[in-house]
């Protein structure tokens, strides 16, 4: 079962990398008011169905893939609405 995890800096948390990207895009002439840089993780999950896969990936996010103090996460399971 394929799953994709999007990890983002939480709203309100300073994201210096995003700030640098924003500044660089503006220097290139793009009208960019804000940029936030996160992380994407593609997973091949061993699970019998989408519900079970989602439950497992949620645990993965809580235990390792995201740090709840500073990051939020979103999970997409292949063939299942987000």
């Amino acid at each position: 079962m394929r799953a994709t995890v999007f990890v983002r800096p939480k709203a309100g948390i300073l994201d210096p990398e995003g700030e640098a990207v924003r500044g660089s895009l503006r220097a290139l002439g793009f009208g960019v008011g804000g940029a936030r840089v996160g992380r994407l993780v593609d997973l091949e999950v061993e699970a019998p169905n989408a519900e079970e896969a989602r439950a497992q990936v949620e645990q993965m996010c809580r235990q390792l893939l995201a740090n709840p103090l500073i990051e939020s996460f979103e999970i997409e399971i292949e063939g299942q609405a987000a």
């Binding site: 948390i13 300073l14 210096p16 990398e17 640098a20 992380r39 390792l64 893939l65 740090n67 103090l69 500073i70």
Partner: protein, 233 residues
């Protein structure tokens, strides 16, 4: 009871201050033992554990995130839960935060630059196992070298830590954008501590500062006293 101060220095793939830490601890009279991350147990009669600086597991995912699931970390967690003294330096501090043994998290430095210089560090609490050889308010000169040393806690957690006296060290100058200029913290019980500066690189004035010896000697004291819950001297 005074006994030999045995200090376990954990070596992860990518640790690079492990030997410096062991060298400094030995110079201060400790029996420092390097312990590989794949071990399941700490050496017998370990009095303190040091998680050293470096780039464990290539800093993949987040600094310290992968190391927390290393085999030895179960033993380190049990040691800490039993009241054993655990110190994380730099990457070791990041690991302890990611493992949930210390509050907060270390993030990318505010200005995105790798900070590598001596900084002034103020001792906020001189009543901890790491700082009890210092005076309250004493300013130490210690080197830092990190790209992800900006400590973060939200306002609620920060207020709680301040109230509980868990904010042990602060930068006395602008360094990396840490909330409250925090450079070192302890857990609620007081036997797990972490800091971004490197005391192990500052135990000999020949290397610029001997102030780190004040901190590590206190750790060696505690290790020799056997500071475990229920085994207080």
């Amino acid at each position: 009871m005074i006994r030999e101060a045995r200090v376990a220095v954990v070596v992860f793939p990518g640790s690079n201050d492990d030997r410096d830490a062991a060298w400094a601890l030995r110079a201060l009279g400790a029996d420092a033992r390097l312990v590989w991350h794949a071990e399941h147990e700490l050496p017998p009669d370990t009095g303190a554990v040091v998680l050293p600086g470096g780039f464990s597991y290539g800093d993949y995912l987040r600094c310290g995130a992968i190391a927390r699931s290393a085999a030895i970390m179960r033993a380190v967690g049990e040691f800490a839960a039993a009241g054993g003294l655990v110190l994380g330096i730099c990457n070791g501090f990041q690991i302890l935060c990611e493992a949930g043994l210390l509050p907060g998290v270390l993030r990318r430095n505010r200005d995105l630059e790798f900070v590598c210089r001596d900084v002034a560090i103020r001792v906020e609490r001189a009543d901890t196992l790491l700082t009890r050889r210092c005076e309250p308010g004493q300013v130490l000169t210690l080197p830092v070298k990190h790209g992800e040393g900006s400590w973060y806690a939200n306002a609620e957690l920060y207020a709680e830590l301040e109230h509980e006296g868990q904010l042990v060290l602060r930068y006395a100058e602008d360094c990396n954008g840490s909330v409250g200029d925090v450079a070192g913290v302890r857990d609620r019980a007081g036997n797990v501590l972490g800091l971004m500066p490197h005391p192990e690189h500052a135990v000999d004035p020949l290397l610029g500062s001997g102030d780190g010896a004040l901190l590590l000697a206190a750790l060696v004291d505690a290790a020799s006293e056997g500071v475990l819950a229920g085994a207080q001297p």
